[in-house]
């Protein structure tokens, strides 16, 4: 087995349920040069330093060729929209991210996320209340999936009556990230494209509407905002909204599902959480280390030769940063394969780091804290019906496709 095949093995679906032994293998070569020229970096300190390295670009226009393994799971939006800030470098990135932040975080809206706690609790409560047959629950379908879409709808300001339509589009788009083998790709592409167009038109309409009648929601604020950075064009606003929808949603689904799976595998922790909801705070941090929803950051490229860990990554190389492997680097974390919510120093890479560090992190944290503590409280004697569960195809955004569980009852 050549070393270069390691990444392929990681991308193989059969290893999806447990890539961690492969990550351990990968870390033996902190900077691995793949046969096809891509560089895979897997150790904590090296990943962290590249995330802060201004010679590393996220802008697709700097990609020399599509070097590296073709990512089946296309994560990018269609080219009809301008790239969202996740695929831009400063200063464009900074400008769009700052503009987005004016309606999401400090200094303008320091309490926006915090103030959603009550609303999140309500959504969680409704979803758990609607579960029905507690003998067989698919946690993904019935809970982790609908939860974040609903949250994003409320955040953006999608009217309640339109939420079901929005969910439909979101489902189709999310499914496109997860190609099903044996399915006709052209048919799916068509569906995806259609959903994308419809969603785009819907959002454009909503933005128009909000320009005339601003409300206290993010779309309105972004639409009417004028500051030192100017304001967003409608196209920029659309790609930002699409980014918030896809990135903010796909990751939270997996964070919650991985979380519940980990808790069910660690019943003592689940029991502690049941009686002590405050445990959810350190617990979610440890989860982000132990089972991060984003496993690796592909699509970065080098603007110059970069020497790291004794290897020179040449200018123009395609770079893969395996954050999930860094999170279990024994040089950084003691006993890294142990899930330990009492861990004191959990500076994980689960949200990345540097200028692209996860924009939605405060919201994702709160969503997961509220969801997991409430699940722990209300499900009586929950248990896994399948271990490991069926995973999604996606190696980058990794998580179970279904999580069948059962419980004796659901507490009010």
């Amino acid at each position: 087995m050549t070393q270069g095949s390691l990444l392929r093995q990681i991308l193989e679906y059969e290893n999806r349920h447990d890539p961690y032994p492969l990550y351990a293998e990968l870390r033996k070569t902190p900077v691995l040069n793949e046969d096809d020229g891509a560089y895979v970096v897997s150790t904590y300190h090296e990943v962290l330093s590249l995330l802060h390295d201004p010679r590393v670009s996220s802008d697709s226009r700097n990609m020399t060729q599509s070097a590296g393994i073709d990512l089946q799971d296309q994560q990018e939006e269609e080219t009809t929209l301008p790239p969202s800030f996740i695929r831009l470098d400063p200063p464009e990135h900074d400008r769009l991210r700052r503009l987005t932040n004016t309606s999401f975080g400090p200094p303008h809206e320091p309490r926006r996320v915090h103030e959603m706690r009550g609303e999140l609790g309500g959504i969680v409560s409704d979803l758990i209340g609607g579960i029905g047959d507690s003998g067989r629950i698919d946690l993904v379908e019935q809970f982790s999936y609908p939860f974040p879409v609903t949250v994003i709808c409320r955040l953006l300001g999608v009217p309640r009556e339109d939420e079901p339509r929005f969910h439909g589009w979101a489902d189709t788009l999310a499914a496109s990230l997860d190609p099903m083998p044996g399915e006709d790709p052209t048919e799916r592409d068509k569906l995806t494209q259609k959903a994308r167009t419809e969603l785009g038109m819907y959002l454009a309409g909503l933005i128009e509407e909000r320009r005339k009648n601003p409300q206290k929601d993010m779309l309105s604020e972004l639409a009417v905002h004028k500051g030192p950075d100017g304001s967003m064009t409608t196209m920029e606003l659309l790609s930002t909204a699409a980014l918030l929808l896809v990135a903010g949603h796909e990751t939270t689904v997996n964070l919650i599902t991985n979380g519940m799976l980990t808790l069910l595998r660690n019943p003592q922790v689940l029991e502690r959480l049941r009686t002590d909801p405050d445990l959810s705070v350190p617990l979610v941090e440890e989860l982000l280390r132990f089972e991060p929803p984003v496993q690796l950051v592909p699509n970065r490229t080098t603007l110059a030769d970069i020497e790291i860990a004794g290897v020179t990554i040449p200018k123009g190389a395609s770079l893969w940063l395996v954050v999930a492997a860094g999170n279990r680097d024994p040089l950084r974390f003691e006993d890294p394969d142990r899930f330990d919510p009492d861990r004191e120093d959990v500076r994980h890479l689960g949200f990345g780091s540097g200028v692209h560090s996860c924009f939605g992190a405060p919201l994702a944290r709160l969503e997961a804290q509220v969801a997991l503590s409430e699940l722990a409280r209300r499900l009586v004697n929950p248990r896994l019906l399948e271990d490991p569960p069926e995973y999604r195809r996606n190696a980058v955004l990794r998580g179970p496709r279904h999580l069948p569980i059962a419980c004796d009852d659901i507490r009010p």
Partner: protein, 464 residues
């Protein structure tokens, strides 16, 4: 007496005295307990308060966002210490291992840690300094008094000195819509710490926020009214400014007078110590039971040619305190050097400013990312063809990268492209620091000792 037996006893039932109960003192005390010190711990502090945090004093407190009594430092653990607050140490007898206190008592120690920090340099003319309305800003009491007067809605505030503290005070005044005049001897604000190029940016920032900034001038005198209240400041250019409040922000003086005659290597520049925080005596011999940390310490740093660095940086106080505490309790082979890369932050006029390394050593400056005009940038300082410091305005996330360049003595100018490089970042410019022989209001880093530029020196170790 076998050394390890001694250490065990020290840990179990020894006496450790910490003089200076502020940031460095508290963090050291916590580390001592965490590392297993079970003996008697005495905390001597001349302020009546439990350890509190100073950075908020010139930021949140002056803005009225927090009150001075809400600045207590968070405790990491219980200390079980004997607190002697409101008590100043007045002397040290190294032979008898005793610290004299101003209440006449003496406390004995097996190990002593000195963290007496610095104090604000007062207005040098006694009569004028005593006028009602003249302030400095270093302590909780200073902040309480100043904040109260700001809340009364003064006609105007005059700030003397545009270093970090002075600039932050001016920023707070403007945010509260109080007219403010800043008088600075140098060519621009922050010039001593960051040089003239960045200083120019700071100057524009101040003016844009409505500060009446006067540079290249000195305040020559303060004038009071018949009731002893300050009413005007006179400037060297012949002008004068009517005002109700004057804040003197002329840097700091090290609290070492109480050590005069003790035989410890303590003076106006601080207390010299080795990289392991052990103090030197006046003969240049390192002591084994007296340690120093925080603003009062000067210690040699390998990255800067082993010159002695005195830092007035929050992070340094914490890190040095932890190192000192660790070293106080262990064998020489287990001691750790304090090799913290200097780092500092400030926030003023809505901008987050951070620096790493020692910018004030730099002779050249390269704007490697962003733009001065947008006031969002990374500036890299070069000294003798290597990277010696960096500063960011609203770009702090890149700092770890530049810190690494400093740590690895990377070449200057950095020979690679970076994201967000603008035309102005094409080549370095002179960093434009004022002549070091002209004193400024005080950079927050001071270098003393021989210079790494000094290549004439040869050192021949003794024969084997």
């Amino acid at each position: 007496m076998p050394a390890d037996g001694y250490l065990e006893r020290l840990k179990r039932e020894g006496r450790i005295v910490v003089v200076g109960a502020s940031l460095a003192g508290l963090r050291a005390a916590e580390t001592l307990r965490t590392e297993g010190f079970a003996g008697t711990l005495t905390m001597v502090g001349d302020e009546p308060y439990e350890p509190y945090d100073r950075p908020p004093l010139s930021k949140g407190v002056l803005l009225g966002r927090t009150t001075p009594d809400h600045t207590a430092l968070p405790r990491r653990r219980a200390l079980e210490a004997d607190w002697r607050l409101g008590t100043a140490a007045t002397g040290l007898d190294m032979a008898a291992k005793r610290v004299r206190l101003d209440d006449g008592e003496e406390v004995e120690y097996d190990r002593l840690l000195i963290t007496t920090g610095v104090r604000a340099r007062p207005w040098p003319h006694d009569g004028e300094a005593g006028l009602d309305g003249v302030f400095v800003l270093r302590t909780r009491d200073d902040a309480t008094a100043l904040q109260k007067r700001l809340a009364d809605g003064p006609r105007r505030v005059v700030v003397i000195g545009a270093g970090f503290t002075g600039s932050e005070i001016a920023s707070a005044c403007r945010e509260r819509d109080i007219p403010v005049t800043v008088a600075e001897r140098g060519a621009s604000p922050l010039v001593g710490a960051l040089g003239g190029v960045i200083g120019q940016v700071a100057a524009e920032l101040q003016r844009e926020h409505g500060v009446d900034l006067r540079t290249g001038v000195m305040v020559t005198g303060l004038e009071g009214d018949s009731a002893g209240r300050v009413r005007a400041a006179h400037l060297s250019d012949g002008s004068s400014v009517e005002t109700d409040i004057v804040v003197v922000a002329l840097g700091a003086t090290r609290n070492t007078e109480w050590l005069a005659g003790s035989g410890l290597g303590a003076g106006p520049r601080g207390i010299a110590c080795d990289a392991g925080c052990r103090a030197f005596d006046i003969r240049g011999i390192v002591t084994d039971d007296v340690f120093v940390a925080g603003d009062v310490a000067r210690s040699p740093h390998p990255l800067f040619g082993y010159q002695f660095l005195s830092l007035e940086h929050w992070g340094n106080a914490v890190s040095q305190a932890e190192t000192a505490a660790h070293n106080m309790l262990c064998e020489s082979v287990d001691r750790r050097p304090h090799m913290w890369v200097p780092a500092f932050w400030s926030s003023q006029f809505g901008v987050n400013i951070k620096s790493v390394g020692v910018p004030s050593m730099g002779t050249e400056l390269l704007i490697s990312q962003g733009s001065l005009a947008e006031r969002r940038f990374v500036g890299v300082y070069g000294y003798q063809d290597r990277v010696i410091g960096a500063v960011t305005f609203d770009q702090a996330r890149w700092l770890p990268f530049y810190e690494h360049l400093i740590q690895t003595t990377a070449p200057f100018p950095p020979p690679f492209p970076t994201v967000d490089r603008r035309p102005e970042g094409a080549r370095p410019v002179p960093a434009d620091f004022p002549d070091p022989s002209v004193p400024t209001h005080g950079p927050t880093v001071t270098l003393s000792g021989y210079s790494p530029a000094d290549r004439r020196m040869t050192f021949t170790p003794g024969r084997h």
